[in-house]
Amino acid sequence: MKRVAIIDSGGANIASLQYAFSRLGVANELTSDATTIRESSHVVLPGVGAAENAMQRLTDARLTDVIRALRQPVLGVCLGMQLLCEGSEEADVECLGIVPGIARRLPIEPGFPVPNMGWCATEIRSAHTLLAGIDNNSFFYYLHSYALQVSGHTVATAKHTAPFSALISHNNFAAAQFHPERSSVAGARLLSNFVGEKA
């Protein structure tokens, strides 16, 4: 049976993710319990807020190794994307190290405010099950000050002063810089594609 575990990383957008899965009719629960997380068919690592704070909570809840060992589909969202990577320039914090890369602060230039906030056209760089049925350059909602550079793991990009990773994929782990739970129809499709992925 499909059951999404949403890891309680102490971030703030957790309720909106829960509502989004509930709108899709998918059972979900907010949890920091290792057994519940391991036994769920799908796992989401959300997060809004500070990377240091979130990593501390995962460490305190003894979840870092639990997350690294997951074999079912895992989706990081926004800060959750940074947490899956090696580290973040934000307070020089060490993250989970599951996906290569370090989150860098977006540069401030005239005409390019930071945080990058709002609906950005998102370019599909390579086909991925999460993007099935989603048009190239669909708009997703972004709200972030840090981003991962484009790499071999990048599946889709959006642009601030330069293109950055909007969606990355590595084995059973994927992560979105945007907020699918707040990205209207395209976001709902991505979440629906995610729960359609087999473990």
Binding site: A12, Y19, A50, A121, L143, S183
Partner: protein
């Protein structure tokens, strides 16, 4: 954007059950404002499903609140609302604007306050230009240009929208990141879908 504008003048905080109800049916971002005076207030509103919180009067009363909120939740979900109007030749900040009888000068220059809240960690500024608010004569382009020059976080224009042309004008002339309006949508004088198509035709980047 939901403002409970009388929360601060009445000494209340925005109704949490209402936040949860709205968040559960909405699939676009959602910002809540109204009497958020502490990290605990903010945490509760965010946990109920708000994506961002906005502070105005409480930040003026206790500017450290902005630092505390940004440290705890990250700048990206901390919006500072600024009510501003011209007085004695300068743009000045006003507080408790939800109640005309309690509205008072915050004894701060708008530009100084915009710079200060960014330094303290605000991730977005909504500038409500009170001279224009409610009169539907267009956004306060002059004031927004001044604000933009000292604002490197997203800046949202508020106050004055009366017709579609006003939205095109504010985006074309001030490089604001968004334009807020309420009454023209509530009264259905402007239909949101039609407005977005109108702006997209004028090459303003827009999700249709």
């Amino acid at each position: 954007m939901f403002y409970d504008i009388t929360a601060s003048p009445d000494g209340r905080t925005v109704d949490r059950s209402w936040v949860a109800g709205v968040a559960s049916v909405l699939d676009i971002p959602f910002c809540v404002a109204g009497g958020i005076r502490s990290v605990a207030d903010a945490e509760d509103v965010l946990n109920k499903g708000a994506d961002k919180i906005s502070v105005n009067t409480p930040a003026l009363a206790n500017p450290d609140l902005v630092d505390m909120l940004a440290r705890r939740f990250g700048s990206q979900c901390i919006v500072v609302g600024v009510d501003s109007r011209v007085e004695d030749g300068d743009y000045r900040v006003y507080q408790l604007t939800g109640d005309p009888e309690k509205t008072a000068s915050a004894k701060r220059l708008t530009t100084d306050w915009i710079i200060e809240v960014q330094r303290r960690g605000a991730g977005e500024i909504v500038l409500n230009c009170m001279n224009q608010d409610g009169v539907r004569q267009g956004y306060d382009i002059d004031q927004l240009l001044v604000a933009r020059s000292s604002c490197s976080v997203p800046l949202i224009a508020s106050g004055g929208a009366g017709e579609m042309q006003h939205f095109a004008d504010v985006f074309d002339t001030t490089r604001v990141d968004g334009a807020l309006a309420a009454s023209v949508f509530h009264s259905a004088e402007i239909e949101i879908g039609a407005l977005k198509r109108y702006l997209a035709e004028r090459h303003i980047s827009m999700r249709i």
